[in-house]
Symmetry: C2
Subunit: 154 residues, 2 copies
DNA sequence: CCTGAAAATGTGACCGC
DNA sequence: GCGGTCACATTTTCAGG
């Protein structure tokens, strides 16, 4: 079964309903999901498996309260990365679990990272490590003003 | 049952193992999870329910390939928001599902948003809407250089 | 996409450490 | 408190239509 890696997939209303439900509550049973989207559990299962193998759904993840697990400091670090030797940075990303997300973008600051730290001191050491690669701009996050969400049915 | 909203929770190795597994694969069965952390399914269930009610685990979410569902453009928009009338912005965030994330931070740009768009034109209209609130800086994302991950056991 | 039966899992009461 | 065992309800899976 060939998987198209680039283009959009055609999704009908039921697919969108399934995606919407699983984006909000990924651990509901397939039968409960079927009830919500008005499909039998076997049809629902097949739809979900299909969305997974098409790569539409890429995974299911528990989300954790960072403060409660001992990472009360969240920051956004932008990194201006001169040159194109990206390998060492990749290595750091793989090693440091405190780096939660790394986006490569247009603009002066090539990378934007989301970093969780156990304290301001900890954040300082993390930023120092990143500063070894280029100049950094750090902003500490006060609050996340939006509950989790994904894209919706256009 | 009172829930402490501020402080960190004491987690043992098994709790961390459970969190680690569910961060990676949130839809595994509780018995499978029990097998992986070497606990019976009922003990595992109790641990998971406890982590949920303590607010350590805040939810389970399916993650979707944005391009495959028709949002091939991802951007980071920083918003310099003068004054303190945050209500109208909240309203926009609630309405526009294209805004996936909104962090309020220290620094000149008070808000950092992650925005998904169906096209560059669509992104333009979204940024225009945001520009109604203050000056914006937009960076388009080339790639996400890190698989999903959460905080790890210190 | 549905039904239906067998296997696996979820749930909760109860016991032992 | 914390985890294991057991019985019963629900869900998952897969054949067949």
């Amino acid at each position: 079964m060939a998987v198209n890696l680039d283009e959009a997939v055609n999704l009908d209303d039921i697919d969108w309903a399934i995606i919407g439900q699983l984006q909000q509550e990924a651990r509901i049973s397939l039968s409960e999901l079927g009830r919500r989207v008005k499909l039998s559990s076997s049809a629902t299962t097949e739809r979900v498996r299909n969305l997974e193998s098409l790569g539409v759904i890429t995974g299911y993840h528990a989300v954790v309260d960072l403060a409660k697990v001992g990472y009360p400091v969240l920051a956004i670090v932008r990194l201006k990365y001169p040159g194109n030797r990206h390998q060492p940075l990749r290595r750091l990303l793989a090693e440091r679990q405190e780096i939660l997300e790394c986006l490569r973008t247009t603009g002066d600051d090539c990378y934007t990272l989301k970093v969780a730290a156990r304290s301001m001191e900890h954040l300082e050491t993390l930023v120092d490590e990143l500063a070894g690669f280029g100049s950094t701009t750090t902003n500490v996050v006060y609050s996340q003003t939006l509950a989790y969400r994904g894209p919706g049915h256009p």
